[in-house]
Amino acid sequence: MQREFRVAPVSRRGALALGAAAVLSGRTAAAAGSILRVALAAGVGSLDPAKFRVGGMETNYAACVFNRLTRLDAAMQVQPDLAIRWEASHDLKSWTFHLHPDVTFHNGRKCTADDVVFTYRRLQDKAVASVMRAFLSVVSDIEAVDPLTIRFTLSMPYADLPAVTSGFQAMILCEATLDTLTTHPIGTGPFRFVEYRPGDRMLLERNPDYFNAGVPKVDSIVLQVMPENTTAVAALESGSVDVVYNLPPEQVERLSHNSAVRVAETASGNWFGIIMHNQMKPFDDPRVRQAIIKLVDKSSFTDIATFGHGTPTVSPIPPTHPYFRKDLLVGADIPGAKRLLAEAGLGDGLMLEMYIPGSSPPLERLATAFRDTAKQVGITVQLHIAPQDKFFAEMEGKVMFNADYFSGRPTPDLMLYAWYHSTGSWNNTLWHYSNPEVDQLLDEARGTTDTAQQAKLYGRFQEIIAKDGPGCVVFVQNFACAVSQKVQNFTTLPLMLMDLSSTALAS
């Protein structure tokens, strides 16, 4: 239904019926205690983290069963996971990670630097075809210096490696159990895998030997596949599930009136925008692009598209990020747009065909809002909604004008470089934009670990994009989960991840 890193579909999910205690009975004796039941819209594809593409149950199961070297917190800052600390050489071409000393896999084997090296070599293996391979292209060598130390050698200076190692695909695997990875995965995480019934449910149980003392708090987790969100919400209301993952904006309002349930909401990294092909008429004229950008009133467009459950943004850098420049969010400037169009010789109006991938109501509402605004300056927009697979195969990157959406990336470099640098892969697919100053800013930012300097460079980047960008990134979608009031310590993270390790249930 969608490609990797696409925004997970927001319209469907489900829930578990009557007590999960009954569901679990006879399967695990250990499951007698507290059970956290989570409804998700779709099951996992592969259980092999290297193959993850879509998110949802895949990444959330993996975050329970495995650990990465590093992880990202709610402000998208790098935090230790299996690696307790890391340092770079002065030229940023050699990175050393130090492992937590007392980590064991669920089968009792000790987790060492060799497992990390194995995991990363596997991610780099062309035959495995992991999406991480592209992110690791800067890594020329990985070696175990000693059982607790790993060294990455890079082919160029790269400041964001510790964020790259937080990738969901880079879950550290146990080499000895590779052959059962897709049937019974073994990791180091807070929960152990018990069973997965495809299309139905996954059962996880507490890992009593977890290296972080005091967690997890619940005895087991049931991840239940529920494709239809009405079903999931009904199950939450009747108390047969505790959490509904990724609630669509349409459902958030409905639940806000229910006192037994609360909604945990955070701005995600998933961005929605208007894409112009910068080498096709009329968008080869920067004035036309600027006029289109001026038509977009970000806050009202966001409200229309997401019913108030989105957050306006300037670029793919999400509003939760410290580098985000809130001051650059401005309303529409219709007279300004008119003037620019007149200067470009299009004062008499023009006709545009806008293509939209189907199955995304927020995107359709965004396009409709744009169409209605564009009328004011004489632009007639015809909307064409295409089925997703057709859109991604035949239209994206080939049509002049479309609405599109992408899911979040862990670092500003990964969020921006491919989309805005003149050599970037997505830039050369979508908008064909070339701005030497932007190129220079992006190159400079990826070569420094100085956050103040990075903030300055990415700040300047957002200034340019806000006025003279290749297209218009309008908002990021909020990632919302509905949770029962008895669920405590539940956190949602911008990359659509639930942190369940310290979640507890009140009796």
């Binding site: 592969s46 092999d48 299309g199 449910r201 009405t230 079903t231 108390g239």
Partner: protein, 319 residues
């Protein structure tokens, strides 16, 4: 009868063979490139070609078909799921079993209720039981099943919290749980299927009740109950049996919406999953099994019809 059964079975085999070719070709005609889809947006033509080679997608179609069909025929091997990287067969049988439980339960209700409603409507033709039955039947068939499903979830799940609204329980969870999980999906399926059987039974009952032999039976002074149950219904049942068998085929294919709404982990859901993820081998296996179920249900109908109706059994010829 044996010849008749043989002929019908041979026809089913032929249909299945043709269907397997069609299923194979149809899944290969899908718009997106499978390798590109599996590898995602960072793939290169080079990695795509490597994967296509690994999966055998670069071979000529007839060769690919033969490999697939031979695997099923000679080894009972439905292949490996591309996405899940595990064998398809256990997943498929599990899902088929779940769907079968739901379908059989729904069929039992549809048959009992549908025949009863048909008979009642025919006997009290033009009076209130007939009107009630027909309103009920038309309401059921006119409203799509996903809508009934949502209404039932909101009423029984959210408002009254009487019944589980999602998932399936196995027998090891206890008989009460097992049945409770089936109630709402079965009601939903029943609502959509009832009209077919009820209306058909009604019209054939009316036809039979007006026939000479029923009049004769009445003239002989037999009690009305005996006339209806023994003389009329037995003959009126024939078309209903065919329709029920066809409905069974329809049910196991058309169960997708109900399984989705009630998060019931059956074959329909598995098919959707494989379509969404472009999991070719799983898609092919699921569609083929659905086809087979449909064919076998129809074969069952034909044979049953033969058992009940000698004219068909003997094909008009001397046996």
């Amino acid at each position: 009868m044996a010849l008749y059964a043989f002929k019908r079975s041979a026809a089913v085999l032929l249909i299945l063979t043709v269907m397997s070719v069609l299923v194979f070709l149809a899944t290969h005609a899908l718009p997106a490139n499978t390798a590109a889809l599996i590898l995602g947006q960072y793939s290169t033509p080079e990695t795509q070609a490597a994967l296509e080679h690994k999966l055998g997608l670069d071979l000529p179609l007839p060769v690919q078909y033969w490999r697939w069909a031979a695997g099923i025929l000679f080894h009972g091997d439905l292949g490996q799921s591309l996405v899940m990287e595990r064998p398809i067969a256990p997943i498929l049988w599990d899902a088929l079993g779940k769907s079968a439980i739901l379908s059989v339960a729904a069929m039992a209700v549809v048959a009992t209720l549908g025949l009863a409603m048909g008979v009642v409507a025919a006997v009290w033709r033009g009076r209130w039981p007939d009107h009630v039955a027909s309103v009920f039947a038309y309401l059921g068939i006119s409203v799509p099943e996903f809508y009934w499903g949502l209404v039932l979830i909101l009423v029984f799940g959210s408002t009254f919290r009487l019944l589980p609204t999602s998932g399936a329980a196995s027998l090891s969870d206890g008989i009460a749980q097992f049945v409770a999980h089936l109630v709402l999906p079965v009601i939903t399926l029943t609502l959509t299927l009832l009209a077919h059987v009820a209306r058909l039974t009604r019209s054939s009952m009316i036809e039979v009740l007006d026939s000479t032999y029923v009049k004769v039976a009445r003239a002989r002074g037999l009690p009305e109950r005996v006339v209806i149950m023994r003389h009329a219904l037995r003959n009126a049942l024939l078309p209903s049996i065919t329709v029920l068998a066809q409905d069974f085929g329809f049910l196991i294919g058309g169960i997708v919406a109900v399984e989705t709404v009630f998060a019931y982990p059956g074959l329909g859901r598995m098919l959707i999953f494989s379509l969404e993820r472009q999991d070719l081998p799983m898609m092919q296996a699921a569609i083929l099994v659905l086809t087979a179920v449909y064919c076998v249900a129809n074969l069952g109908a034909d044979l049953l019809y033969g058992v009940f109706n000698p004219r068909i059994r003997y094909g008009g010829a001397v046996d």
